[in-house]
């Protein structure tokens, strides 16, 4: 703090702005800002204001309508019941596979490709496959029946399980890729150091790798959860859209395009966003309890 004595002139205004991170490179942000404003902020605030302008009643009456109707209200629980376990399973299944695959080995690219291919399938193709494979006359049930393991086909489609499987298939590649990149961001020397200090692989994992990976797992969980929570096509195609898989996005869709009640649909969308935010806030709060600094690797 010695540089700026009373008699000394201040640095040029450009230096002072640069000190605060304001320089010409900021222009690089313009395209992103245009996108965010045009494609996210404007529609969001449009929907938000629309949700307070119901066709009849006070500004909050559409929200009240949603929560007073148990059939509508229940969609929150139905969606959470599908999305939370699916996101959790995706993350948990990705960890051991990514852990095994973090190093270099022959055929790594092939295995990674195989694991990531479901991303390219799209929901409809996945649903088609699920119906063929797990449906009442699909291979899975035919094998079970032929082996006399069951007396009648197990119902795995057009109900909760169909949607669940579909979410796992489409969500897993995301979770896997994210976990893999978080894992390769952890310096492998740390585990080697732990080994020379006497830790077997189990303790290397639980005491070194897992604690360092937890923030990444939390982020991965949030992303796969958001993907799963807005599930729509598979809820219709392989679920039971009138009953146990009437997810919240379906309720919004019906309000908007079957009843043409846009304010009500907007209100449902806002509620949907709020529920997501609550879950993400909880997960991120838990995440902040872990070490989130540099983990030494290149990632």
């Amino acid at each position: 703090m010695s540089g700026s004595g009373p008699g000394r002139p201040l640095a040029h205004w450009q230096h002072r702005l640069a000190e605060r991170g304001i320089d010409r490179q900021l222009w690089l942000l313009v395209p992103a800002l245009v996108f965010v404003i045009a494609l996210f902020l404007y529609p969001f605030f449009y929907g938000l204001t629309l949700s307070f302008q119901p066709t009849d009643g006070g500004p909050l009456s559409d929200y009240a309508r949603f929560f007073s109707d148990s059939y509508e209200r229940g969609t929150i629980w139905i969606t959470l019941r599908i999305a939370l376990p699916a996101a959790l399973l995706n993350v948990l299944a990705a960890v051991p596979i990514a852990y095994r695959m973090r190093g270099r080995f022959r055929g790594k690219r092939l295995v990674t490709t195989l694991l990531v291919v479901p991303i390219t399938l799209g929901t409809v193709l996945t649903a088609q496959g699920l119906l063929n494979f797990l449906g009442p006359t699909g291979w899975f049930n035919r094998i079970l029946l032929a082996g006399n393991l069951v007396d009648e086909p197990v119902r795995l489609t057009h109900n909760y399980w169909g949607v669940f499987f579909s979410l796992v298939i489409t969500g897993f590649p995301f979770a896997f890729l994210l976990v893999l990149s978080y894992l390769s961001g952890i310096d492998p020397t740390l585990e080697r150091a732990a080994a020379t200090l006497g830790a077997d692989w189990r303790r290397r994992f639980t005491m070194i790798t897992l604690p360092l990976l937890m923030p990444g797992l939390a982020t991965t969980f949030c992303l796969t959860f958001v993907l799963a929570f807005s599930v729509f096509p598979s809820a219709v195609l392989v679920g039971n859209p009138a009953g146990e898989t009437r997810v919240i996005s379906l309720a919004a869709y019906q309000a908007a395009y079957e009843q043409y009640d846009y304010p009500y649909a907007s209100a449902i969308a806002m509620i949907m966003g709020f529920v997501e935010l609550v879950i993400i806030a909880l997960v991120l709060a838990a995440r902040s309890r872990f070490y989130t600094g540099s983990t030494g690797g290149k990632g």
Binding site: T189, R192, G198, Y291, G296
Partner: protein, 370 residues
């Protein structure tokens, strides 16, 4: 773990995809010894260390701790402490937890773990920092945590992989003394990998010089400093003047050599048939400038470049025949000065030139022969 009286590496080899990184390393380490593995990068010294630690499987050979074969044991069951070049401190654990890690893995009683951790913290003088995370420490402090963590469980062998290479010059000197002090007070058997000959000479009881995966020489610091086994080792040990020459005459250990128009007398090391190609090695500090009276191995030269280095000057001179000479002198010389250089025949070492292609490359690079 159990102390040993001898650790024996028996033909330890490691290949990476058809390339030999380490070839048939034989080495016996006595308990309490400080051994330095020395060599340029890619010479196999870190490979040897990792094989010893159990972090790299061997492709050939075996490692014995007295009568027990240990190269088949995983690293966690060898009980060797290791200091990594990057320190590899656990970033999510405090200094105290980092240091206590090895003791916790051994499931020692809580009280003993606490006591020994405190001791190690005192040993490396980090009492004020025990509750910090590694990221909040300076490089030198991190280095001390890494050392404390590796020695706290009193390992039978401590492995150090270029531990000082990430520190600045001043800290490096301090930590060097620190490591030597630790070794003297704890008496831990240590294998230390470095590419810095000065570091190796000042720390180790015994040096192992490696080149292209092969041992070149094993010996005491004095032996390596004064009598390198071949010119590659000489090159590495600070014999900056390496001149190509041809044997004229050998008389016992005294050899007369012709090198770019000069007749030089020196110590013959190894077998030197008459007329064979040789390399002449001289340290810059063994070259005298304007010595008194009749001097052996005299050359007249012109000073070209001078670097100020405190008590001494480091200079480059070119002889009248075009030979480049590196020298150190306390005399005030300046670029353009005409000087008479001379060398004590005892400090001028003559080696068989060996593989010629390599010789060409080296000599060309130093500009001595065109």
């Amino acid at each position: 773990m159990s102390a040993f009286s001898q650790l024996r590496l028996d033909g330890v080899s490691r290949r990476f995809g058809g390339q030999d990184a380490l070839t048939e390393l034989d080495l016996t380490i006595e308990t309490g010894e400080f051994i330095a593995l020395l060599g340029p990068s890619g010479c196999g010294k870190s490979t040897a260390l990792n094989c010893l630690a159990g972090l790299l499987p061997l492709t050939q050979g075996s490692i014995w701790q007295d009568e027990r074969r240990i190269d088949t044991l995983p690293p966690e069951r060898r009980g060797f402490g290791m200091v990594f070049q990057s320190y590899a401190l656990f970033p999510h654990l405090t200094v105290r937890a980092n240091i206590a890690f090895g003791l916790r893995m051994r499931r020692l009683p809580k009280e003993e773990t606490r006591r020994r951790t405190e001791e190690a913290v005192r040993l490396v003088r980090l009492e004020d920092h025990v509750d910090k995370l590694p990221g909040q420490l300076s490089g030198g402090q991190q280095q001390r945590v890494a050392i404390a963590r590796a020695v706290v469980f009193e390992p039978s062998l401590v492995l150090m992989d270029e531990p000082l290479s990430n520190l600045d010059a001043k800290l490096r000197l301090e930590m060097r003394t620190e490591i030597r002090r630790l070794h003297q007070s704890l008496g831990l058997t240590t294998v230390y990998v470095t590419h810095d000959q000065e570091e190796a000479l000042s720390l180790a009881d015994r040096l192992v010089v490696l080149r292209e995966g092969r041992v070149q020489q094993i010996g005491s610091p004095r032996e390596l400093h004064t009598r390198p086994a071949n010119w590659h080792v000489a090159d590495f040990m600070g014999y900056r003047n390496l001149w190509r020459g041809r044997v004229e005459q050998v008389d016992g250990t005294r050899a007369a050599v012709e090198s770019s128009g000069h007749r030089l007398l020196g110590e013959a090391i190894g077998d030197l048939p008459a007329r064979s190609d040789v390399m002449v090695a001289v340290r810059p500090e063994d070259i005298r400038v304007d010595g008194p009276g009749e001097t052996p191995n005299a050359m007249s030269a012109t000073i070209e470049v001078v670097e100020y280095q405190g008590r001494e000057l480091a200079a480059e001179a070119r002889t009248d025949s075009g030979q480049l000479v590196h020298l150190r002198t306390e005399q005030r010389v300046a670029p353009g000065d005409q000087v008479k250089l001379s060398m004590d025949p005892q400090r001028l070492l003559v080696y068989p030139a060996g593989a010629t292609r390599e010789t060409d490359r080296l000599v060309d690079a130093s500009g001595a022969v065109r």
